[in-house]
Subunit: 214 residues, 2 copies
């Protein structure tokens, strides 16, 4: 299982430690749209995403999904809930066919947490999550829809080539209508162009940055 080494959290483990880890973990495969865990579930395992994509979302009072985060391979999923023995605070759903390393949390805690390297890695991982959460707050609470879209164009331009507008809208927690209207506005203001293949090009980067901060 060379692939375990590619997980940031376990990159620095000795071969011996990797062997131990192997014994308490198993690789599981999931298809797109399958659920890894629901909000409210009690955590038993720690998951590391090896392949595919996993989105995490909460559900609001109207039953709508509020997108929180997308995990890519290498990500360590939801260690907060594990640590605290509290239910998962959100739902995790695969958005493509994926593989996860499922680790027995109790054994991990027993065997590894005394290791200062591991606890340092866990601190780092928590900090990374922390950053994600602060970004979510930034995105959801501080930014207007126009600013969210400007930010997305500046930071994830290439995703327009692969994602549909509905998917982008759901990542930004806005409606497809709002996204469509704002993109049209940006087009008529000559800030961007969009070709037939849904590829977006930036014409006026400064104006985008201005929208983001103004």
């Amino acid at each position: 299982m060379e692939r375990i080494k590619n997980i940031a959290c376990f990159a620095n483990l000795s071969d011996e430690q990797l062997e131990k880890l192997k014994k308490i973990s198993v690789i599981k495969k999931y298809n797109a749209k399958e659920i890894l865990f629901y909000e409210g579930d009690t955590p038993v395992y720690l998951y590391a995403l090896l392949k595919g994509m996993l989105k995490v979302y909460k559900t609001n009072f109207k039953g709508q999904q509020i997108f929180l985060h997308q995990f890519y391979p290498g990500g360590l999923v939801a260690e907060l809930a594990n640590f605290e023995n509290i239910p998962y605070p959100a739902t995790a759903e695969f958005t493509s066919n994926s593989e996860v390393l499922r680790i027995d949390y109790a054994s991990l805690e027993k065997d590894f947490f005394k290791n200062p390297d591991i606890s340092m890695e866990i601190i780092k991982s928590l900090i990374a999550k922390h950053k994600i959460l602060i970004e979510i707050i930034q995105k959801e609470v501080i930014l207007t829809a126009d600013a969210k879209i400007a930010k997305f164009i500046l930071e994830n331009l290439e995703l327009f080539d692969t994602l549909k507008n509905t998917q982008i809208a759901s990542i930004l927690n806005i409606t497809p209508e709002t996204l469509s209207r704002t993109l049209s506005k940006f087009k008529t203001a000559s800030i961007i162009t969009i070709d037939e293949r849904h590829h977006v090009s930036i014409l006026d980067k400064e104006k985008l940055e201005e929208i983001l901060s103004a």
Copy 2:
């Protein structure tokens, strides 16, 4: 410095370790409305709040404060920024006359982080922050103004005795007008009563819980 022992993070230190800590830290006093650090500042110290209150907020595109968190005595402030050597992601302002323990972060890292107890405490503190952030997301993204207020009444009833409506509104990131209107609505619906001393009593707890989740 008996008071250092009362900080959750340092509660389990030996006397010897406490001595060491004393050497790299100093107590500072601040008045209400003074700023501990601004969003964007580079962190040099780690702060532990000994006395008073400290609010943390971000500023949005219109220059308005978005309240994030209030620290009470015992809280360890902003360790994320310290760890990552990134600028503070928010501004911290004292809301009453306060005292903080200012710890030299570089020395702390050198002397204490090898100690597994300390790193476990830091993990715990990070997890606590994590929870706060998730709650902020819950509060800001998922809840309506009515639900925020219902939640606040259910969870912080006694704060109505001491805080003005403007302060409560700022904690909830709503305008005083909205708070006033919603409280009137709750009163006419016989869900709560408010006496001359601004003391709130709950008449219909179930209805409040319904507003929170519906």
